[in-house]
Point group: C2
Chain length 208, copies 2
DNA sequence: CAGGGTATTGAACGCCGCTCAATATTGTGC
DNA sequence: GCACAATATTGAGCGGCGTTCAATACCCTG
């Protein structure tokens, strides 16, 4: 045995999560196993169970990191788009639509850029459907971006939340269709067209 | 050893698929294993490999059955709704909207009624994203119902197909949200309201 | 009734998640 | 400087997984 105290528990935690992310990026969620993670960080399985409750716990924490990364990604793309469109255009309905489209396309772009990580968010299904509070919070942060973009529409808070959920569920559905390659016909262009069709018509319907 | 020729290959196939469905219904996709299926039909694992290529093949065939069942379910609900609304109302836009809503609600109802089976359609991910032709055909049949319901709108064939994909991806997204219980607030009513919000506004946007 | 053909078996292989007694390493008190 | 308590780390072991294939038990043909 060796290396007692060479790494703190928190260091081991981070190393394990890094290694897990690397494995998932390379081989997808099915390639993830405690033995592989342990080998990658040059510890043994037993050590992992000192730091994580079990593999589900570890998986959920990887997903938590992914949600953080997704949030940052969306923010970055939002800022880039806002810079391109000039300052303080966020108040009218047309600008709101553009903001939503920006978010939607950024979301889909993330799913494409980081497909295995993104897929794992949904491939790992919690059985007792009990996501911990911290996880729901991270989810809420991402959802919050959509709600914020919709606020200029001037609907009530609860109505805005509803619209955001419907819209984001729909964008997610299109994204799934794209990633799972169920769309034999479709390239990138097709997906953007579908997203635009969804968002513009849905919002026009809301106004009309 | 025993029972040589007691069951034909096709009989064994059906027994295995039945057993697999029962296991999935009871314990979900993660509970499915060759050893359990074999035990349930009182054969051994080896026999399963005479009838199926591997567990993935078997899983895909269970999913194929589910697609058939879903198709029948949607047809039945369509017919019931059509009977309720009187004969030959399928021609104007309002009726078209009702037809889509009927389909959407029936889809979500199926997911609720047969959650494990329905979930397995998406939890089992084909790695080489090569669904066999027969599977794509079954998928196409379900999609075809949506396209048919949209035909009264009078869009071109390709446009109708696009609209159907967008709409169905979106309904699926809402359905996912419901089933995965990410909606803490939501009961059945909430989901129906969200579906209605999506469909009515999207279609109104298309018209307007 | 012998023998070929085949349906069926089940042990074996290398994985998996997870546990826990055994052990190696360290810091402390003398 | 040393013994000892405390603890970080190990890794064999358990039961389960998908998959393979030589061995076997059965049936049919001649």
């Amino acid at each position: 045995m060796a290396r007692r105290g060479e790494h703190s528990r928190e260091e081991i935690r981070q190393m394990a999560l890094d290694a897990a992310e690397a494995i998932v990026a390379r081989e997808g969620y099915p390639g993830l196993s405690t033995r592989r993670i342990a080998a990658a960080i040059r510890y043994t399985v037993g050590t992992l169970y000192l730091v994580f409750e079990n593999l589900d716990d570890l998986t959920l924490q990887v997903n938590g990191r992914t949600l953080d990364a997704l949030y940052d990604w969306l923010r970055t793309h939002q800022d880039a788009a806002a810079a391109g469109a000039g300052i303080a255009v966020g108040q009218d309905v047309a600008a709101c639509q553009e903001a939503i489209l920006t978010l939607a396309n950024a979301y889909i772009a993330y799913a494409e850029a980081e497909t295995p990580r993104w897929s794992m968010l949904f491939e790992y299904v919690v059985q007792e459907n009990e996501q911990p509070e911290w996880y729901l919070h991270k989810l809420g942060q991402v959802f919050g971006l959509v709600e914020a973009a919709l606020r200029p529409l001037g609907a009530g808070d609860l109505e805005t939340q509803r619209i955001a959920r419907v819209l984001w569920a729909s964008v997610h559905g299109i994204c799934l269709l794209k990633i799972r390659q169920r769309m034999v016909l479709a390239g990138n262009q097709e997906t953007e067209a579908m997203t635009r069709m969804l968002v513009t018509n849905f919002l026009r319907g809301l106004r009309g």
